[in-house]
């Protein structure tokens, strides 16, 4: 179970959000919505330990997580809005790198996982290309495959289907549903209503469910 209590974030003197409270049960699929610039990505980055919060608590399975922004370990898998693929590695290497380095899988095991994921996401033909040789939607899907390959317990997607055509979106929905069956907790920041309707158990609306402005 993941609990977020009274979380707040300030940039400079601008309060992005405050008083954010949210509880997510294991295996839930939560969609996070809200207008552009409201703080959705910021929240995901805090959750992943990439950005410090200014107040509040993150509690994962009754253990409090460090919110200072330099937490170690990858409790939350993230698919970034701008992908952050590693340019010097091929698609396959991008996907197999972490399982080998972190999970100490053999090259063969990692390859098997990567092949399956990349096929599911329709990237068979791109496995040996480098990121600069990919289309926008292909990068998007590689980023998804890379995060999935680590089989994280919690997975956060930042606009996973932005720029994806209907067919590719279908594939992503299928993946999310499969993971849900496997009990993976998933947080999906999206403006894509059909996607949210197709997969989400609950919706968190940044436009109405957090406080903004004023002081901390």
């Amino acid at each position: 179970m993941l609990e977020i209590k009274n979380l707040a974030k300030v940039f400079g003197d601008r309060v992005i959000f405050k008083g954010m409270d949210l509880t997510i049960n294991d295996g839930d699929v939560l969609s996070i919505v809200g207008p552009s610039g409201i703080g959705k990505t910021t929240f995901l980055r805090i959750l992943a330990g990439l950005l410090p919060a200014d107040r509040g608590e993150l509690i994962l399975n009754n253990e409090s997580l460090n919110i200072s922004g330099d937490r170690q370990g990858a409790q939350v898998g993230v698919i970034f809005q701008d992908f952050n693929l590693f340019p010097q590695y091929t698609v396959k290497e991008n996907v197999t790198l972490a399982p080998q380095l972190v999970k100490k899988l053999s090259k063969k095991e990692a390859n098997n996982i990567a092949d399956e994921l990349l096929t599911n996401l329709g990237l068979e033909e791109q496995i040996n290309q480098y990121p600069f040789q990919l289309s926008g939607g292909q990068k998007q899907r590689v980023a998804i495959a890379r995060a999935l390959a680590m089989k994280p317990g919690i997975l956060a997607y930042d606009e996973p289907t932005s720029g994806l055509d209907a067919g590719s979106t279908e594939r992503v929905i299928k993946v999310i549903k499969q993971l849900k069956e496997q009990g993976v907790t998933q947080l999906i920041v999206t403006h894509d209503l059909p996607l949210a309707q197709a997969v989400a158990d609950k919706t968190f609306d940044f436009g109405t469910d957090v406080l903004r402005g004023g002081n901390l």
Binding site: A48, F86, P87, V102, Y130, P131
Partner: protein
């Protein structure tokens, strides 16, 4: 021409010394430079301060003086007596590491934050992130600047004369003053030019190899 063939053996044995100093310095100073560059970016104030001082001293004082200090100074002060060659190589490594550290620091700074983020959420350790994600990209960026220092290193290697090591330049000096001719200097100069051309070509090759991605 005959004369050149006559002095060639001694020039070549000088070349061996020059290349020895060059190669060992590179092997030692690049990794050390990476470590120092990381320390320069560290959050630990004291470490950062010490490393800044190190870079300042190493770049601020003449390499020649540093060699003299390590070889004569340390033994005068009864701290340590290094053999000549080792003393030279150690000093060169310490000196060049400071220059390389600055170059790497710049390279590391210019890697987008997203790369660190990407590595972190995958659970890579800081070491793995550096080793597998950041440094490969840094090398691509800093190659040309490193080339400058490599070229300087080829030339600076002649400073080992000061502690009596028989390098290329000294071989030239000896032949020139023995035979009262400038030919050995020309020959030595040519060898340096060739060495530097080689270094430059290897640098450009490596660069274009690293150009497989953008």
């Amino acid at each position: 021409m005959d004369y050149i063939i006559q002095i060639l053996p001694s020039i070549l044995s000088g070349l061996k010394m020059t290349i020895g100093v060059f190669v060992l310095t590179l092997i030692g100073s690049v990794p050390l430079g990476i470590l120092v560059s990381l320390a320069l970016r560290s959050d630990i104030y004291l470490l950062k301060w010490v490393m800044n001082a190190y870079v300042w001293i190493m770049r601020g004082t003449p390499l020649l003086l540093q060699i003299v200090f390590v070889y004569y100074g340390l033994s005068l002060a009864n701290i340590m007596t290094l053999p000549r060659f080792e003393a030279a190589v150690v000093t060169f490594i310490l000196n060049y590491a400071a220059y390389f550290a600055e170059i790497f620091r710049g390279g590391i700074q210019s890697i987008p934050d997203g790369q660190y983020d990407g590595a972190k959420v995958l659970g890579l350790s800081k070491f793995q992130t550096m080793r597998k994600i950041v440094l490969p990209q840094v090398f691509k960026i800093v190659m040309p600047s490193m080339g400058n220092e490599v070229v300087n290193l080829v030339k600076d290697s002649s400073l080992v004369y000061v502690i009596g090591l028989g390098d290329l330049m000294r071989a030239g000096n000896i032949a020139a003053s023995r035979d009262v001719t400038l030919v050995p200097y020309l020959l030595v100069g040519l060898v340096y030019l060739v060495l530097i051309a080689l270094a430059t070509i290897i640098q450009r090759r490596t660069e274009s190899k690293l150009n497989y991605y953008r």
